[in-house]
């Protein structure tokens, strides 16, 4: 948190103590914003649950019963069964294997009942939501990382070098911005399927990785714009001049001196764009271009839910619970993003406070 706020200071003499004090100030402001604080806590809970999914006594998310009918949420509260992970069907990382072992040691064959109901193949919905959160969060984080790397580098470089280079680089961003990008991504993913052999054998990229990367490649544009704007205003700050006079290279000035100072705004934008990435994932999954069974993601669950709508009795729980999981998480991310922006920018915090009071 310490480095977060240094970009606010125009004075070059930023000592670590003062930076920490400012970070602490932002942190305090965030804590005082009760809704944002609870959103953060909720997100931490979601993250922890998805991280510890193998440890939880949930039924298997993948064990199929082909003749099963969807059952609504009901008891019994607990049931007996094993975790049902077949190694070849649902590969687990070594850490997850440990967690599964710990789970068996802790709970034995005891597991939760169908609290949220089961789907048309007899799989437990709660378990699928928890396991699905792993994929959704992974998509969001990886796509964000890609967009972070491309966007920050592009924007910082354009803003720092300035002049003609800046104009050309930002013009490219403008042009890309005006494209209906999703069409191009769909096109890309389709095309990349034709290069599957090459990508998988040579580069070790599977379909999901390609999917993550192409989402990230779309979302760097806003990041580049925001970072460029910030860098432009910092370009002639005294500490940058000082670094230059001491003979620092452009890359060093950029990544050691400037980028840390725009970190606050980067974090805000990351928080605010994760929801749209998750929505995008569900969108592509709906079109059959994203996550595929047996893997599960929130997007896939929502798609399954939307698919079950038919006039002969509505399996509402299959639509409602994934929508609730996704909706609350994205809502919390939106609120947290707004809260972070207010916390990091006292001016807008005052405006928001004025609007939120009474």
């Amino acid at each position: 948190m310490g480095a977060l706020l240094r970009w606010k200071l125009d004075a070059p003499a930023v000592t670590p103590e003062r930076g920490a004090a400012l970070g602490a100030e932002a942190w305090r402001r965030l804590r005082r914003n009760r809704v944002a604080w609870w959103s953060l806590m909720f997100l931490a809970l979601v993250g922890l649950t998805s991280l510890l999914a193998p440890l939880l006594p949930l039924p298997s998310p993948a064990a199929l019963e082909l003749s099963a009918e969807p059952t609504p949420p009901a008891g019994p509260w607990t049931s007996i069964g094993n975790h049902g992970f077949q190694r070849e069907y649902w590969p687990l990382s070594s850490v997850d294997e440990r967690l599964v072992d710990a789970r068996v040691a802790l709970f034995g064959d005891w597991q939760t009942g169908p609290w949220l109901g089961t789907d048309s193949k007899g799989r437990d919905l709660l378990s699928r939501i928890v396991w699905g959160s792993r994929t959704s969060i992974a998509v969001a984080l990886l796509a964000m990382l890609t967009s972070l790397v491309i966007g920050v580098t592009w924007g910082a470089f354009a803003g720092f070098v300035g002049g003609r280079t800046d104009r050309v680089m930002m013009r490219i961003v403008d042009v890309l911005y005006s494209l209906p990008f999703i069409f191009i991504v769909i096109f890309l993913i389709t095309i990349l399927q034709g290069w599957k052999d090459l990508l998988e054998t040579r580069l070790g990229l599977n379909r999901e990785a390609v999917f993550y990367l192409s989402i990230g490649a779309v979302y760097w544009l806003t990041m580049a714009r925001v970072v460029r704007g910030q860098v432009l205003s910092l370009r002639h700050a005294e500490f940058v001049d000082a670094a230059r006079q001491m003979g620092a290279s452009t890359a060093r000035i950029l990544f050691v001196h400037i980028v840390p100072n725009v970190f606050g705004i980067i974090i805000v934008y990351l928080t605010l764009s994760i929801p749209s990435v998750m929505l995008f994932e569900s969108f592509l999954t709906f079109l059959g271009l994203g996550i595929e069974a047996p893997r599960v993601s929130w997007g896939l669950l929502a798609v399954d839910g939307a698919d079950t709508i038919h006039p002969l009795g509505i399996d509402w729980w299959l639509l409602v619970w994934p929508a609730v999981a996704m909706g609350t998480t994205l809502l919390a991310l939106n609120i947290l993003g707004d809260g972070l922006r207010d916390a990091l920018d006292p001016k807008s915090a005052l405006a928001a406070k004025g609007a939120a009071q009474t």
Binding site: R171, V175, S178, L179, P180, F181, I182, F183, I184, I186, F187, L188, T190, I191, G194, W195, P275, L279, S282, F283, F286, L287, G288, L289, G299, A302, V303, G305, A306, I309, P311, I314, W316, L319, P322, A323, M326, G327, L330, L331, N334, I335, A355, A356, Q357, T358
Partner: protein, 329 residues
């Protein structure tokens, strides 16, 4: 103004050129073509098919033929419905060539059939989003911090956080099964457009409501609003006459992205409601490797969105004369 439009047209041409060229290159670089099927074709048939779609030409020639400025000869021109005399065929003349998957059909036929449907759906959705979003945002800004305001803001935030096919699902459950007001799916009468239009427009209505509220609150804090208030202009007139024009500037600048989003969203919505629009054709074409159709839709939608962005920029200067077109062109 004219200089601005010319410059934008220039950039637009560059953009389209890049899109066409890149997608053409990627398309031809893929292994496996549209004629792959379960049954292996005999080499003679395959050669014939390739010859028919000119896939046996050198790449540059295929590209040139696709983009346009190449005399194609009487036969193909006649087959496309021309008289063999025009020099500019291809994309430049608005001709996207034959569909690879639907034999005996040109991409233009498919687009001519499906585009009006998609545009109608998109129009309904956009109108819905604008009306609902502006109304909610105005109410919210007129009575800030009231419970009505809180309701609007909460609903708007939730509307942004749920995928549109989930909204569609809820709408179908509510208004087609529980209260059977509208048909579940299909296309034909205006009733068929209501649910898809709502499902497609709602997330954008939510966003527009947020933008309107913020913009109006901003506009209401200006000095000239205080002046108007001081000289006794009724609140409603202040809101609609004085503040609205400045307050909806953010909404106008959002129209470009919103249209792009609605066009994209229609991919999903058309599938759910079984509407035979361009969106469903696009997805199918991408899955079927019907390259010409996929490219045709991509180029068409790019043109639409870019054109709309220019329109939005022009509107922008009309609303807020302080914005100079020349600077950003």
């Amino acid at each position: 103004m004219i200089r601005f439009l010319l410059r934008r047209a220039g950039w637009f041409a560059v953009t389209l050129f890049c899109v066409v060229t890149l997608s053409f290159a990627m398309m031809r670089a893929v292994r496996g073509g549209p004629f792959d099927s379960e049954r292996a074709l005999s080499p003679a048939i395959e050669a014939n098919l390739k010859a028919r779609y000119h896939l046996d030409w050198p790449l540059w020639k295929q590209y040139a033929a696709y983009v346009g400025p190449l005399e194609l000869g009487e036969q193909r021109a006649a087959w496309l419905g021309g008289d063999g005399t025009r020099v500019f065929g291809g994309v430049l003349a608005g001709d996207f060539g034959p569909s690879f998957r639907y034999r005996d059909t040109t991409v233009n036929d498919i687009l001519a059939q499906s585009l009006p449907i998609s545009l109608a759906l998109g129009g309904v959705a956009l109108a819905f989003a604008l009306v609902l979003g502006l109304a909610a945002g105005l109410v919210s800004a007129q009575y800030p911090r009231s419970s009505l305001d809180t309701l609007v803001r909460t609903t708007a935030t939730i509307g942004i956080a749920v995928p549109n096919f989930v909204i569609a699902g809820f709408l179908v459950i509510l208004f087609a099964f529980l209260v059977p007001l509208f048909p579940v799916a299909g296309y034909g009468s205006w009733e068929h457009m209501v649910l898809p239009g709502c499902a497609l427009g709602l997330p954008f209505a939510a966003y527009i409501a947020r933008l309107t509220r913020a913009g109006m609150l901003d506009a209401l804090s200006f000095d000239w609003i205080r002046t108007a208030r001081a000289k006794g202009v009724p609140p409603r007139t202040i809101l609609l006459r004085h503040a609205l024009r400045a307050g909806i500037v953010p909404v106008v600048s959002y129209l470009g992205p919103a249209t792009a989003g609605i066009l994209t969203g229609s991919l999903v919505i058309e599938r759910i409601f079984a509407i035979p629009g361009t969106g469903s054709h696009f997805v199918n074409s991408a899955l079927n490797r019907d390259y010409t159709l996929a490219m045709g839709v991509t180029i068409l939608y790019t043109t639409l969105v870019c054109g709309l962005n220019v329109l939005v920029d022009v509107l922008y200067t009309w609303l807020d004369p302080r914005v100079a077109l020349e600077e950003e062109g």
